[in-house]
Symmetry: C2
Subunit: 344 residues, 2 copies
DNA sequence: TTGTATGCGTTATCAA
DNA sequence: TTGATAACGCATACAA
């Protein structure tokens, strides 16, 4: 199958064909005023005829930009992140940018390596959602110092100085737990996420605050840690533990829908009824949660829009940087809402 | 925030610093034999000290390759395709390639435009899973004629001459339906997918063949079409229709798990019991299907491995092409298996 | 073993 | 209105 390589048309080909200079051809293709109508027309015609397309590598080299952005997320095969990625790709494509995607698999070392990879690739900007392991941010800050725009989304760091797109995790958790309390649940457990991610911390804080604000004292024994990067099993195992240790809990606020599903399965096995025996509240509103039995109460989290918005901000910063326009970092907080179903 | 741009180190910087020629520096960094140990050592040291990284655009221009591959899938936010993409990205990264992802949203026009985009970007190869609309393949064949390796996966075309990675959709469907028949179901409906995709056709053919091979005559009235790119609703609406039109159906073979979930929800609403009243068989083994009530019988489809393998083949072809080694197109069929749960 | 020179395909400056 | 020319940063054939 190894055939000879067909060489794509270059500006030079068109120039020789038309008996004019490369410079003129180049200018004809741009919005330069100083080209006669007739030659421009001739060039455009020949471009079509010879199926000319600019050599991106040459343009990149010359213009020092790649029209490419990089994305680093924990994993692509994940309902929420795949939605975010979808939003990023769509927004980027709409603006003439292509997207290179990398997955950290929740490992800082991968994250660091990939940031380097993207910088060497000379991407024009980088979008990152931090790994669960990440708690130092030098590798992120270095990118920013190198003057490559960075936008953090979902799993961000408060102390890194750059634009960020999130939801209000604390408030969302607060609202969910408050709802449970108003509904009459008295002993509410929390299946929390890993210790380092800001959104995991914020949801925990929101849970605590809701309790205290409603006159329920916070009990650390009601908090179960889910940090094995396997939400379903984390939920499943911790549900078992909880039944052992805290049998009189009447509601659980889970850090994410997949943890909630793990709880469902455990309860299903041992015959605990949801919500009659114990209510369950999730987080993220994955498609799955609407078709479970009983359907899961959860928090609507706008994945696609988070990706779209992050990308929009990044492209803005890239543009400003290119045009030497100063700009301020943005902190966008996307709205969430409670989705009340039959599990609470 | 608009700061000055820091210029990255180039070979020239290192050369002047070391008082040697650019060529020597360049050669030191490659596996050339004709550089003295001492100068090579000096170069390597300076490279570290000055934090040199090759300018990818320059290398691309010079070597005429981008170390980048393109992927076009119907949509990223999809359990199966996100798994495939994950496999692609992992395999590519392992081999020093980066991945640009585009989504066709099931539209041929997007597919065509994106193929052009990727070619102009001079990617070294392209992986494609065709849109539901695609039934002409000129745009794919052109890429191949331009001598850019293409590997089709999952939603392929039989008549395009290139490597392909699939499962045996016909056999898998055949096995599922045969299982239903052996289990005693007599009147089995099929909720089929769009008319054009090969895998949709194959699953339909497998369904038909299983019936006939088991002495059940095929009844076209038992086939319902799901082609609105909204599996859940397709399943839901068609389930309703089926209850109206074919109330004595005792099993449904659905083209995919999400269609099955739509059926579940309809049946749940009207009080049809699964599998007592009607059994349901899915396809793909999404995570969801294991946590539904009742859990869904389905077909295990290896998404990650499909992505990994497709990418592996593509990189092989890229390498062979570069080294002018001839190669044959591969047709890989990945194994599937029945996952029997409580819905049948 | 090292260096010189050329070209990859563009863009952009300046002169004609 | 056009064109000659110099980069952009690197790789490589060839000369020294």
């Amino acid at each position: 199958m190894g055939k000879f390589k067909i060489k794509p048309t270059t500006l030079k080909d068109i120039a020789t064909e038309l008996n004019i200079s490369i410079a003129t051809v180049s200018k004809s293709l741009k919005s330069y005023s100083d080209v006669s109508r007739s030659t421009r027309a001739a060039v455009v015609k020949m471009v079509k005829k010879m199926n000319y397309n600019p050599n991106v590598a040459a343009v990149n080299l010359r213009t020092q930009q790649s029209k490419t952005i990089g994305v680093i997320i924990p994993t692509v095969a994940h309902q929420f992140f795949s939605e975010v990625l979808s939003g990023i790709i769509e927004e980027a494509e709409k603006n003439g940018y292509l997207v290179i995607t990398l997955q950290s698999n929740e490992q800082v070392d991968s994250e660091k390596r990939q940031i380097l990879l993207l910088q060497h690739k000379r991407v024009d900007g980088i979008l990152i959602s931090l790994s669960n392991e990440t708690y130092k941010f030098k590798h992120i800050e270095e990118v920013i110092q190198n003057n490559i725009p960075v936008v953090l989304f979902d799993k961000i760091s408060k102390i890194v100085n750059c634009s960020k797109v999130t939801i209000n995790d604390c408030q969302a958790a607060y609202d969910a737990v408050t709802y449970l309390i108003k509904k009459g649940y008295k002993k509410i457990a929390h299946f929390r996420g890993s210790l380092k991610p800001q959104n995991s911390i914020d949801r925990f804080v929101g849970y605590k605050k809701a309790l205290v604000d409603n006159g329920i004292s916070f009990d650390p024994l009601l908090v179960y840690l889910c940090d094995n990067n396997d939400d379903f099993n984390d939920g499943f195992q911790n549900a078992r533990k909880l039944l052992d240790e805290q049998p009189d809990v009447d509601a659980i606020f889970a850090i994410t829908d997949s943890v909630a599903v793990g709880i469902y399965n455990c309860f299903h096995e041992v015959g605990i009824k949801v919500p009659e025996d114990i209510a369950i509240f999730g987080f993220s509103n994955w498609f799955m949660s609407s078709v479970l039995t009983p359907s899961l109460s959860t928090i609507q989290q706008p994945g696609f829009e988070m990706g779209r918005k992050s990308c929009e901000i990044l492209l803005e910063e890239i543009k400003n940087l290119k045009n030497d326009i100063s700009y301020n970092f943005q902190q966008v907080v996307l709205p969430t809402s409670l989705v009340i179903r039959n599990s609470t």
